[in-house]
Symmetry: C3
Subunit: 179 residues, 3 copies
Amino acid sequence: MESRTTKQAKREFLRTVAIITVSDRGARGEREDASGQALHDLLTRHGFDVCYQAIVPDEAEVISQAIRECAVVKRVALVLTTGGTGVSPRDVTPEATRAVIQRLVPGMAEAMRAANLLKTPHAMLSRAVVGIRGATLVINLPGSPTGAVENLSVLLEALPHALDKIQGDMSDCARPAGG
Amino acid sequence: MESRTTKQAKREFLRTVAIITVSDRGARGEREDASGQALHDLLTRHGFDVCYQAIVPDEAEVISQAIRECAVVKRVALVLTTGGTGVSPRDVTPEATRAVIQRLVPGMAEAMRAANLLKTPHAMLSRAVVGIRGATLVINLPGSPTGAVENLSVLLEALPHALDKIQGDMSDCARPAGG
Amino acid sequence: MESRTTKQAKREFLRTVAIITVSDRGARGEREDASGQALHDLLTRHGFDVCYQAIVPDEAEVISQAIRECAVVKRVALVLTTGGTGVSPRDVTPEATRAVIQRLVPGMAEAMRAANLLKTPHAMLSRAVVGIRGATLVINLPGSPTGAVENLSVLLEALPHALDKIQGDMSDCARPAGG
């Protein structure tokens, strides 16, 4: 049984977040990282600890490396990317994410698209991927501040439970037939 | 043209089912297989013939092997797994299933998640995969009895047609522009 | 900045379409290509230029080669396949498509299935894939004329924007935080 202090520490660890903005122009300093900022504000309001932010160009290897570092070295609970999820030639964030994750979570990507499809048919063009690398959840979000915030909002209610489980919380294994 | 007897035999073959419960604790005999039992009852009520049931631990290779044996050796029409579809570190049923199936049926997995998302946001955390190995349909279901039954219920109406087609029924190839 | 004439030429290029009917019986000349014709009519009414049509058998390598030729050699903006998306043993169009595309667009396939699921539970059996090869969008549609037209109709509103983006239109990169 865990002590209260350990539980508290674990809870805080579970809510560490890295935000990676994927944008050629952002990486060259040619535009402000409005999406990263919008996500930072939303997450902070919901009790998450944004402990790392970076801007990388739309280069698959650079994106993969940034996600891998956050998951494997920094060991944050949640890595969000914003940008590069569309169908333009330079949009390769989903491929860069697939190269790093070990287990897909297709339902989170489907849920984001289904919710946004009620607002605009262009939602079907988001190629966003969600998956797990080690004990870290990785979520692709679109590049616009509005799109990033709207998509993440679809997932917010399920996120705490998801992060608990990914970190290995075994609580409902005590139930007769859970799992 | 098939005789009435052959058709009847084929129909019965089309409805053979194997249920594989994926659970570390179940495999150690530490808990009752309530999900397997619940699925057995539901299927029997709908005219399926549950001809095989097993409990395996959350080990990818063991799960893959169990599915492969049901599809390739026992040649059942339908393999259901229950358990191991979540995001916990030991949840590897979808990966074990992908390793065995030859053709994905993504729409059945999407339909289960979409229907359950109306009940709970946690439905988006199901990583269930559906696919075809040879002439066998393989469906991942969640581990709780309620979740397993609710998810399978979403598919029940499409199942007979799916199994007919997978077994090579060519009936609507007679239509002018079917296929 | 592009001249008006260049823009007009590009716009026309963006709307070139190839329709590949996948059908063993159609390829043997045993049935009329009603689906190809129905898609041709729908697209023409919506201002697309159907510049190529072919009928191929349900053979993965032949299907892949037909798609590849339309994308890489003919460089059409949009390749539609009709047929071979179901669960019958000969239905291999999705696998043949996956072998050729470089980037998946899962949201378009999800949107087609979700819309059709409101009409029939059999919609969940469509294994259709959508993806990008080079600057060409590839969309799998079912084999019946009605199914093909209904599925494509779900995507029509998002298609012009999708094709613009895939061809490398950078227009909204001018926005402060797009991408």
